[in-house]
Symmetry: C2
Subunit: 415 residues, 2 copies
């Protein structure tokens, strides 16, 4: 798209009321708008990133048998009372509101209850299992403070899948598959090298849950990494007993701050019991469904990419989730026709391109904007580049630029 038609503009100055790097860079770049502390709107560039992350997660969930749906934002008190989580003493970050008739309703802060309540209508026999429904939705959490940008919002966008299995054995098979799917997600959004599957505290039905933790100074968690094994242990479960069980030597562990970018959890019958979510097994007995939960914060993941992959000049988007693959800069009003022609050629080759066709701006301003916005490939059209036979091409994460013919450029971009 043409930058002259883009909704937003960049800003040189960091917003005074933001401490988190992700919020600073995303606001300066015009990716997000701050509605209030912990609540952000996605502007067109930010929306494009979010949609690409959503698409990657969706593909990975579908690949392991996930089936997408969309649960409501308003949730019923009756449903929540079944697990005793309606009580503000039990869940201290509820947002609630009130119907005209005085009935209190909740703004969904998680989905275990909603899913158990829905699935109960459709499960009666072991033949109905397993089920792996999921949705992407806006989640509301009434945080006391919100200083981490889009990494911990009062409102955020989130994927949650719940698994409903006949027994622990079939649950465990899916649980292992989900680990692979999660790994794929982090690899595909560019965080694979920084993200560790981390042993964390479990519950009644499993000794551990598994978090996916991305190493970052902006993280709120402390993890202990066994680099050789490629796994980590959350501080909360770091005991000699656990180390022995996982066959890990404490001396090899490296302590790092990390951001929790996902978690998977065996729930057992914690929710199926209160909802009476059972099925008839082949002998006719009533057996509680064995559940698991699998969450990823989409907006947190986006914020984490910014925290981890940006440099002093701005954001460095991985190609998989960049708003556009290419940033095409037209430098100087003399090259408008040539730049326009190259823009059309890129579009004809189905290359997503942001075309900085703005006139009356200096090269320095355009380069600074391009670094801030962070598209992976920068292509400059100037009188000099044309005289040298083409365009100046540079990757966002490299300092070296080369002059290429337009044909070679396209070959390289679609390779």
């Amino acid at each position: 798209m043409r930058q002259s038609q883009l909704f937003t503009k960049t800003s040189k100055d960091n917003p005074a009321d933001e401490q988190a790097k992700n919020a600073q860079l995303l606001i300066r770049g015009g990716f997000i708008h701050k509605e209030m502390a912990g609540v952000y709107s996605m502007l067109p560039l930010g929306y494009r990133v979010m949609e690409k992350i959503v698409h990657i997660i969706k593909e990975e969930m579908d690949a392991i048998g996930g089936i997408q749906m969309k649960t409501s934002a308003l949730q019923s008190k009756d449903v929540w009372e079944k697990t005793n989580r309606w009580d503000d003493e039990v869940v201290d970050n509820w947002f609630k509101t009130t119907l005209k008739n005085g009935t209190e309703v909740g703004l969904s802060f998680t989905n275990e209850e909603a899913y158990s309540n829905i699935v109960k209508n459709f499960v009666s026999s072991y033949k109905d299992l397993p089920l792996y429904p999921y949705d992407f939705k806006t989640i509301f959490r009434n945080e006391i403070r919100s200083k981490s940008g889009i990494m911990r919002g009062r409102e955020f966008y989130w994927k949650a899948l719940y698994s409903f299995s006949a027994d622990k054995e079939s649950h465990d098979v899916f649980y292992e598959k989900s680990k692979e799917a999660y790994r794929n997600v982090y690899n595909r959004v560019g965080l694979g090298a920084y993200t560790y599957m981390t042993f964390a505290s479990g519950g009644t039905f499993s000794k551990y849950s598994h978090e996916f933790q991305t190493v970052s100074e902006a993280g709120e968690d402390l993890i202990y990494i066994d680099t050789a094994k490629g796994i980590a242990i959350n501080k909360e479960v770091l005991t000699d007993e656990v180390l022995a069980e996982l066959n890990i030597d404490r001396a090899t562990l490296v302590e790092k701050k990390a951001i929790e970018v996902g978690n998977i959890f065996s729930l057992g019958s914690k929710f199926s019991d209160p909802f009476d979510l059972t099925y008839k097994n082949s002998e006719g007995g009533d057996v509680p469904v064995f559940m698991g939960s699998y969450g990823i914060g989409v907006t947190r993941l986006m914020g984490t990419v910014v925290e981890v992959l940006s440099d002093e000049k701005g954001i460095v988007w991985p190609e998989s989730i960049a708003p556009f693959k290419v940033h095409l800069l037209q430098l100087g009003d003399q090259v408008i026709t040539n730049a326009q022609e190259i823009y059309n050629q890129l579009l004809e080759n189905n290359i997503e391109v942001l075309f900085d066709d703005r006139i009356g701006m200096s090269a320095g301003e355009k380069f600074a904007d391009s670094d801030l916005l962070g598209m992976p490939h920068r292509v400059v059209v100037s009188e000099r580049s044309l005289a040298q036979g083409g365009v100046e091409y540079k990757k966002r994460d490299s300092d070296e630029s080369t002059v290429l013919s337009v044909e070679s450029l396209i070959q390289q971009l679609i390779a």
Copy 2:
């Protein structure tokens, strides 16, 4: 997908607590789940329909220059106070909630304020205009009663585009384009023949607004249709003066109940004034931006299709928004292998198919389910059809079936 793996099941009985046909059929078919009165979750089949409607609207909005974003659900009191619409006396169907620090926040009930507040940050010159941002989002309205199923929810899914133009002339050009885009949407979702552009009351900046009204006994509005001209007048503006101005003869008008499935509205500076949303014109003067709003309720449109296009047996989805194009029924356990093979052939030809592979069910039950669920093409594999050389093919909206070879079937479906 295989029906045996589908999340949901059909039900023979109408839900006792639903009066609206759309809710009855959608719940019986397992398209939606009722969370509470006026609040529904989209189950996998319903989600597929909703996503297809979203995709059609998105294409039409993008085609006229729309640019997608995603505004927050929680909205700030400060922003709403600028237009005096925070007051519960002014807007009587607010949902509000409270931050931990006691600050009241609103759940977005519409988006004029949010957009004006955001766009103000990025518009300074006439060169920044026009802008046509839009988003799909969940909208909250605290309705006293909610008896119309997904046609009037306390929570619903919605597209709103706002136009920001330099003056009335350029606004009017876009406004006319938007009428065409809206017409395209209704044609594409199968409601074109029943939907009339309807003159309705305007505001300070235009005599009329334009509603799109779909004729249905379930409608809450009364419209007067000039069949020859293909337009209608909402009862609220039906005066002799208006008839004269539109050159319409009262005697030709036909009164009908109708469902408002969209509206477009010239806002002028109604919102740009309180937000001080101005730009410098070429002479350096400050001029208020001329705004327009363009809304479509996605879930209401889905409900309207069910109201208008269903028959006594169930829903009749238009192909464009059907969850699946084809419903493939395997009748009798002897044909499992053949049915499986045909299923694979359809998938290989990129045909979306729901495969009723359930065993131990009668033909009557499968036919009844198929009629209720409403896929446009029904394909039956039975010993009889195979003996006759193929499959029995029937359209949902026809009583005639024919036996086709699988090759002919595929030819017909991809034609």
